[in-house]
């Protein structure tokens, strides 16, 4: 079997070398970017007080220390938003899928295209054993490479969000760490299954790109809607700012640790629908457009996957009975006791459940991979070798 694995990698040396070089390069790039961010040594307090230039509720004169703090935070945010940083993050997001497709597509399809399948199939009594050798070669190539890339992505995520433990946070959790391995394996299995069925490399690549990106784009929504919903628990009020009425954004915000799944609204302890909440506001509040802190775009919210500060989260009323929406509209009601206002309650997967969630989602990806693999193993036994 080892001989077959070695020869498979040698046979597909272009793909093997290309994927290895890209993965190693990406790992190095991610580590360099993380080092650049860490080397700024920005205190967490600076980042928390600096939200896109807004200095928080304090309106006093800016001290030299605060100015320095702002300068550091600005440098940090500029680096976070730089082109190279975004490019590395983008590549880290898609590398597992692309690597899986590149390695998987020619695995069987090229044998059929180049007419070598009859040679091997005539020698091997069992086509499934033949395919197993090739599949193992792909797995042995992709798994360690993607683990390295995923770990580097974790380091970068930690650098991008100082104070955040990447192993206890759902910030961008599907684009880093262990899930990278399973994304790559799923893309690999799906693509070699397509290659086996179609018998052509390029059509398999194109179709795999469409299918994989569709699955990747809908995965978060599908998982939160169908799977994670039943495990979600009520979020604990843990952040001082949140209690003061600010939705927590940005680096170090504990809101990034939990994964927002859904919310419920209550009025006087009774669960109500969104329509009822709107009706309540229409009846009791006057809303005017205002320039407010919450209207500013957060530099820290870099598309984190289902973090509790997600756009789906409801507006939160403060103690003065005002509430602010995402579109910069502030509402003020006359002398209403905040305890009688609609109270949104968020249901989240706590960051402390990171490994359990990773295991669940990785397991689902692995199941998908095994399903695709099973199709290929059944199909290869029945198809013509040309």
């Amino acid at each position: 079997m080892l001989t077959r694995i070695r020869l498979t990698l040698k046979q597909h040396r272009f793909e093997t070398i290309a994927v290895t070089v890209v993965c190693v390069g990406l790992t190095v790039a991610a580590l360099i970017e993380a080092y650049r961010l860490n080397s700024l040594n920005v205190p967490l307090s600076c980042l928390q007080s600096y939200q896109g230039g807004y200095m928080g509720p304090s309106q006093g004169p800016v001290t030299a220390a605060q100015a320095h703090c702002n300068e550091l935070a600005k440098s940090f945010n500029d680096m976070r938003g730089s082109l190279d940083m975004n490019l590395v993050q983008l590549l880290l997001l898609f590398a597992p899928i692309l690597a899986g497709i590149v390695v998987g597509a020619p695995l069987v399809a090229r044998e059929i295209e180049q007419g070598t399948a009859p040679l091997s199939w005539a020698l091997s009594g069992s086509r499934r054993r033949w395919l197993l050798g090739k599949v193992l070669a792909g797995v042995f190539l992709l798994a360690p490479l993607m683990l390295v890339v995923g770990l580097a992505a974790n380091v970068l995520e930690g650098a991008l969000n100082p104070g955040l433990n990447p192993y206890a946070s759902f910030s961008n959790y599907l684009g880093r760490g262990v899930p990278d391995v399973f994304w790559a394996l799923a893309a690999f299995a799906g693509t070699f299954a397509l290659g086996t069925v179609l018998g052509r490399t390029m059509p398999a690549v194109v179709l795999a790109l469409v299918v994989c990106f569709f699955v990747r784009a809908t995965w978060d929504a599908g998982m939160t809607h169908f799977v994670l919903r039943q495990f979600a628990v009520q979020q604990v009020q843990q952040d001082q700012q949140q209690q003061q009425g600010y939705v927590v954004y940005g680096p170090g915000g504990p809101g990034n640790a939990d994964m927002y799944v859904y919310y419920k609204s209550f009025i006087d302890g009774k669960e109500v629908t969104d329509a009822e909440v709107n009706a309540w506001y229409n009846q009791n509040m006057v809303c005017v457009p205002m320039l407010t802190p919450s209207a500013s775009t957060s530099p820290g919210d870099s598309g984190s996957s289902g973090a509790s500060s997600s756009p789906g989260a409801p507006a939160t009323p403060d103690k003065q009975g005002s509430t602010m929406g995402d579109n910069g509209v502030a509402c003020q009601g006359p002398n209403i006791d905040p305890s009688h206002m609609p109270q949104p309650v968020q249901y989240v997967i706590p960051g402390s459940w990171y490994w359990q969630t990773i295991a669940l989602e990785s397991g689902l990806l692995l199941l998908g991979s095994l399903f695709c693999g099973a199709i290929a193993f059944v199909w290869v036994d029945r198809r013509r070798p040309y």
């Binding site: 046979q11 009859p118 005539a122 009594g125």
Partner: protein, 297 residues
């Protein structure tokens, strides 16, 4: 119905019974009955599209028959594929080699895929031909690539060798070399070979049996010598007495219509005529199969 008397003699290394294979509306094999005796080297001859490749592919379990079946050394390849393939060495139509892999890698791969693969045997054969084991297979000449394919097939030490037009792309020297290696191996191993070709002269010296396939049907299946001895070629208007006309085709030079005759047993007058060449026998049966009575030589 195929003509010939040698099919039922000896143990059949390869046998087809009422074998039919259809690709949509095209009939590739039409109720083929064929029996290749063990230890023989049989030429499977026919024009392009006659069904030679399909027959071999069915034997390799690459194609599923629509009706009937085949047995390779007594094993149905479609029902017991791994068992059947252990008994078969296969050389595909075009010498397919793995680009980027060396000759030695090919042998290593064959050994990893086939438990009984004899690498030393294959290596010795390639050594004798001066093919470097460390050379990349995609840089081999056509003849060398064909020899590599043959060495891989022979290395399996299979009882039955199926060779699907392996000579088609080779120059005359490479063809001769290929056939010589094949014959040596068959002689030393006592295996059976089915060598398909659409060029009669390629197989004339190598084979001891002839099976002619035309339009999906077996036209003739008999020992080569019997094919020569029992057929005569004359101009259409001068038949040997008691002989059966097989088919007419345009003779060499394109001047006369020639007819192939099959002699009746004990036809002394017919036997006095000059024997037909193997090419004439094949042309006569193929012309009969087409039904036009005319076949360009």
């Amino acid at each position: 119905m195929a003509l010939g008397g040698g099919a039922s003699t000896g143990t059949a290394a390869l046998a087809a019974h009422g074998l039919s294979k259809r690709f949509k509306k095209k009939i590739a094999l039409d109720k083929v009955d064929l029996s290749i005796p063990a230890g023989s080297v049989t030429a499977l001859v026919g024009p392009n599209g006659a069904g030679k490749t399909t027959l071999i592919r069915v034997c390799m379990a690459f194609e599923r028959p629509n009706a009937g079946g085949v047995e390779v050394d007594g094993v149905d390849p479609w029902k017991h594929r791994s068992e059947a393939l252990r008994r078969v060495g296969y050389v595909p139509q075009t010498p397919a080699v793995y680009r980027g892999l060396s000759v030695e890698d090919h042998l290593s791969m064959a050994r990893s895929l086939h438990s009984g693969f004899d690498s030393d045997y294959a290596r010795r054969r390639l050594d004798q031909l001066g093919i470097p084991l460390d050379q990349r297979a995609d840089t081999l000449s056509g003849g060398q690539a064909a020899q590599l394919g043959l060495a891989m097939a022979l290395g399996t030490r299979a009882k039955v060798l199926l060779l699907d037009e392996p000579l088609a792309n080779l120059d005359p020297l490479a063809r001769r070399e290929f056939i010589q290696v094949l014959l040596d191996a068959v002689k030393s191993d006592g295996s059976t070979a089915l060598l398909s070709s659409h060029i009669v002269t390629d197989v004339e010296d190598a084979c001891d049996r002839l099976a002619i396939l035309g339009a999906g049907k077996v036209r003739l299946d008999c020992p080569l010598e019997e094919a020569r001895q029992t057929h005569r070629l004359t101009e259409a208007d001068s038949p040997p007495p008691g002989a059966t006309a097989i088919g007419s085709f345009l003779g060499k030079g394109g001047k006369n219509i020639m007819t192939l005759w099959r002699l009746a047993p004990g036809d002394a007058a017919g036997e006095a005529l000059e024997t037909a060449s193997l090419e004439d026998v094949v042309l006569g049966y193929l012309a009969a199969g087409r039904g036009t009575g005319l076949q360009l030589n």
